[in-house]
Each structure stands twice: as structure tokens, then as C-alpha cells.
Symmetry: C2
Subunit: 245 residues, 2 copies
Amino acid sequence: MVKKSAEKEKARKPNMREAILFAAEELFSAKGFNAVTVRDIAQAAGANPGSVTYHFKTKDELLLEIYRRHCKPMNLRRAELLAAAKRVRDLQDRLEAIVRAYVLPAFSSGSDLAGGGARFTRLRAIMSAEGNEVTRRIIAQTFDDTSHAFIDAVHDSLPHIPRAEIVWRSHFLLGALYYTLVTPERVSRLSRGDSDGADAGDAIEQLVKATVASLQAPALDRATPSPRRSAPPTKSLAGDGHAPK
Amino acid sequence: MVKKSAEKEKARKPNMREAILFAAEELFSAKGFNAVTVRDIAQAAGANPGSVTYHFKTKDELLLEIYRRHCKPMNLRRAELLAAAKRVRDLQDRLEAIVRAYVLPAFSSGSDLAGGGARFTRLRAIMSAEGNEVTRRIIAQTFDDTSHAFIDAVHDSLPHIPRAEIVWRSHFLLGALYYTLVTPERVSRLSRGDSDGADAGDAIEQLVKATVASLQAPALDRATPSPRRSAPPTKSLAGDGHAPK
DNA sequence: ATATCATTTGTACTTTTGTACAAATGATAT
DNA sequence: ATATCATTTGTACAAAAGTACAAATGATAT
């Protein structure tokens, strides 16, 4: 092994494989999977359609590779932030930190290219909307652990809310997050220019604030007829048994 | 007179145009626009592909026709409910009624077939995610008025919150609504069976509750026009970069 | 019944799609 | 240089797409 040859190898070519991955991610996250052709991707990457087949046998495999690229780093980042958030003493601050730990990596994963986190999250949003069969499995497999960790952390901060309600509200958070990344211009339009929906900083702050408030809302709790009763909610709802499917 | 035979014939082939519309709506709202072929639609409707071309010149036109079907009734329903909500005296109740007026028609429009409202809303969610050019215009044209009316009504109930922030939170509501209709099974999965994400009644109640709470959250507070500061101490983590007011 | 109209059917045409594959190209090691 | 390997290119092909259109069918009015 010669060092120089290794260095040369790095600078040797602009790495077409990466260019294709990047172009595919951009196109998929903008137009969905079915609306983008292999030829579109090749052209955007400055490559030949045959090169796409060479590096990633099929279009499905290309999509999967994009997911493999992003899932682990994003979840790692979330786990780090969540661990830090759990150590926050003040309960209110802790809840906000937990939510932020969930939201922040979705907008910008540190390791990747500029805007990589937001782009990948938008991709997930679109794939989830399209009901893409290829990604549904990997999404559930990769992100459910993270989601459970997040939900449990919130539940620890708000033990009086049944876990199922926290699930609902976390679900709403993810939906809001997705929609903001998919249609930011709607915010700009409806606010008549007072807000920029594409401003990630603003979006994060607004999302965190709104989500913390929604999480803190009293439980729905249909079992109790009187709203002024401050009795603890029924424990049976938050059972820890796992239901077989 | 051959009324009898005519009736029998009609009962056998009850308006193919409607059947095609229904099949198309179902398929589009399940798999998106690009993943569904004209042949898929024809087969689901028990029709010949040529019949689709006959009734709706193109695939785009078919999609547009679906929108024309639903937009007006749904917005009418929303306007009715909103007008009624505005007359509620109690401020807290009024806010909840307003949110409910926005959410309810999205789950079930009264005039249509069973589940028609939810199906059409899911369709809008997917089209919005796919960035469908055909529907983008009609969506903005048809729903922006309703959205503005809703936002203004909320703003009247919460005058101390800047309108732009209400826009953000309404946007989150719509995102949460969309996502719940698109991926209800995720709620069931993460709640380990304690909740059924596909239960429209539960979804509505959870969504209304969470949204009311998020709307009532104190303003994020950049250069705010309202000098009132009786809210709990706000976090200064949020870096306020710009004030375009 | 016959004529007239609306609808349905069958088929075919033109593009576009994903993917395969042989040849061309370029780099590295010997 | 020559051989070996990885990559890129060009092309082709079978399948699937949207849509057009003539013929067949069915219903209604006269």
C-alpha cells in the first residue's frame, strides 16, 4: 500500500456514485418516487443512465441506499440530544429540550451536506404520503425505536397524561413537521409575507412552542365526567403489556 | 313503455361515470397520482379504459373533476360550522368550536358517500406531498379563503397572539390532520394497540384538544405589537434574527 | 321498427419507462 | 508497455404508459 496512491484515489474522480445519490435524493424529495425517472436522475447527476444501473442495480435499491445513508446518523443525533435533554432539571425546560431533540435533527443532520436533514425528512414525508412499500418497512424498523424513546421521555415528564394521548400528540408533531417541510410556501402565503415558511429557524421555534403546549394539555380522559376533577387518570390505559399482532 | 327493462338495465350499470370517479378517488388517495394508471382505475370501476377517456378526456381532467366534486361542499360546510362557532359566547368554548369547524368537515363531508370527506382530505394530503402541479392551483384558489376565515376567527378569539403565529399553528393543524389520515396505523403501532389511529372520532377529539392548547400558547414574541407581558417567563433560547414587521 | 343519440368496447399507436449488456474508456499494478 | 480492473457510455428492448378512434352496443323518441 502506498499512501500517495490512496490520496490520488480520493481526488481521482468526482465520485459519480455520490452525485447520483445526491441527485436522486433531491428529485425524490421534490416530486416523489414515481414521478422521477432514472433518466431524470442521471441527467441531474451529469451521468449516463447506464451508470445508475451499474452503481445501484434498480431504482428501488437506489432509494433504499439513500435511506441507509441518513437513518443511522439522524437517529444517533436524536439519541444524543435526547440523552442530554433528559438531564435537564427543570421540568418545563426538560420537556422543551426533549421536543427540540426530536425536531432539530429533522431539519439539519450535522454530518451531511447543507440542508441534508431537511431534505431527507421531506423525502420521508413524501414516501409516507405515497404509501411507498419499499420504504415503509425500513421506516418502521428504523424510526419506531426512536419514536418510542421520545414518547417515553415525554411521558416521564408528563406522567399524568396517558401514554396513548402522548402518542397522538407526537404523531401530530411529526405531521406538522412533515407538512412544513413539504409546503412551506403556504405559511408565507397565508401570513401575507409576515412569516417565511422556509425559514428553518422560525419553523423549529414555532413547532417546538406549539408542540410543548399541546403536550401539556390536560388529558382527554372520557372516563371522568367532571372536568374539575383532578383525580389521576385511569392507569389501565397506560399498561406496559405488549399486544401481539 | 319499457320502464321495467330500463330500470333493470340501470340497476345493472349504475352510471359508469360515477363509478370511475369513485374508483379514481379511492386509488389516487391511496397511492398518489403517478402510481395509479388509467387502466387501474378502469379495472377498479369495472369499466373499459376507453370509457375513462370518453368521460374525462385525460387523467389530469379526471383528477380535477374529483376536486370540483368535493371542494365546494366541504368549504360550504366549513363556512356554516364556522359561522355557528363564532356565535358561541364563552371564549374557550368558541375557540374549540372554531377548531372543530375546521377539522370536522375534513373527516366527513355530509353530502357524499361514506367516508368521502376523509378520503378527499387524504387525497389532498398526498397531492400536496407529491407537489402535484394540477391541484396546486385549485387548492390555493379554493381553500385559501377558508383558511383565512379560520385564521381570522381564531385571531379574534386570541387577539394577543400575532396573526403570523396563528398561521403557523393552523398550518401545523393541517399537517397533523393530513398525516393522521395518511398514516393512521402508526398511531396504533406506537400506542401498542391502546389507540386506533383510524378511529375518526378519537382522531378528531385528540386533534381538537391538542390544537386548542397549541393555539393558546403564549406568543413567541419577537417585536410584538402587544405590550402585555403577564405570561410566564419566556425562554430566550430562541434567537430572533429578523423582524419583518 | 327505425333512426338517433349516448355510451361502451376493442384495439392500436406513440412515448416513456426500467433495465440489460457489449463496447469503450480510464486508471493502477506489474 | 501490458494486463487487469473498475467505471462509463451507447444502444436496445420489452413492458407499460396515456390516449385516440372506429366499431359495437344499448337506450330513447318518433
